[in-house]
Amino acid sequence: MGMKALAAVGLVAGVLSGLLGIGGGVIIVPGLATFGRLDQHRAQAASLAAIIPIAAIGAVLYALDGELDLLAAGLLGVGSLLGVRLGTGLMHRMDAAWLRRAFGLLLVAVAITLLVL
């Protein structure tokens, strides 16, 4: 296990998390698989555990600046818990290749809208 490499993976993911308000799993899961030699399940497990303090530090900093709507977060959280269950359940049952592409195109449109807004 490359200890320095794992800390570096955390550092990069942390910067992205704080800068963009995301969890950082996109970086951490492949990083743990590559440098920590973990299988997919274990990489996801360790990633989720690491995201707890990473997201918490970011959330506190944003909250201190008045940029965190706790009520909105609660409502979004309730919806997303339901959504994740539906989504992961469906993922195992269908071939989502064309849906992936359609969603990829939707994200391109979202990116353009964010750029010109």
């Binding site: 800068l19 555990a49 959504g83």
Partner: protein, 134 residues
């Protein structure tokens, strides 16, 4: 908060969670633009709120893995050690940036995720090339 806005927030969370689960992407990548474009949040508060949504989700998810004996605490602690430093730096940087600038940086991330969805094998091949056979 109006009932309409409350329902819209639950719906936005539902869509973000659904796509995250279905496509294996992070929830924030959908959550942040959804509340910015559809509900009129500014980029900073969308990101701060998104971070708060992640905490219970990550707690719940890692607890489930822990019960199945899949949680490697040393790996998690090493990533978290670097991650705490990084998120403090990234958060302070974001809060010092102009809203429009931050929104454009976020748009670049959305493009990266879109490319990964449109070309699932392309980026993986590149990563394998640089990381060795894995």
């Amino acid at each position: 908060m109006s009932v309409e806005l409350a329902l819209a927030l639950i719906a936005a969370g539902l869509v973000a969670g659904f796509t995250a689960g279905l496509f294996g992407i992070g929830g924030g990548i959908v959550l942040v633009p959804a509340v910015v474009l559809l509900l009129g949040f500014d980029q900073h508060s969308a990101q701060g709120t998104s971070l708060a949504v992640m905490i219970p989700a990550a707690l719940f998810g890692s607890w489930r893995h822990y019960r199945r004996g899949r949680l490697e605490p040393r790996h998690a602690a090493l990533v978290a050690a670097g991650g705490i430093l990084g998120s403090a730096a990234g958060g302070l940087l974001a809060l010092s940036l102009d809203e429009a600038v931050l929104r454009r940086i976020f748009a670049v991330l959305v493009v990266v995720v879109a490319v990964r969805l449109l070309m699932p094998d392309g980026p993986r091949r590149i990563v394998r090339f640089f990381a060795g056979s894995g």
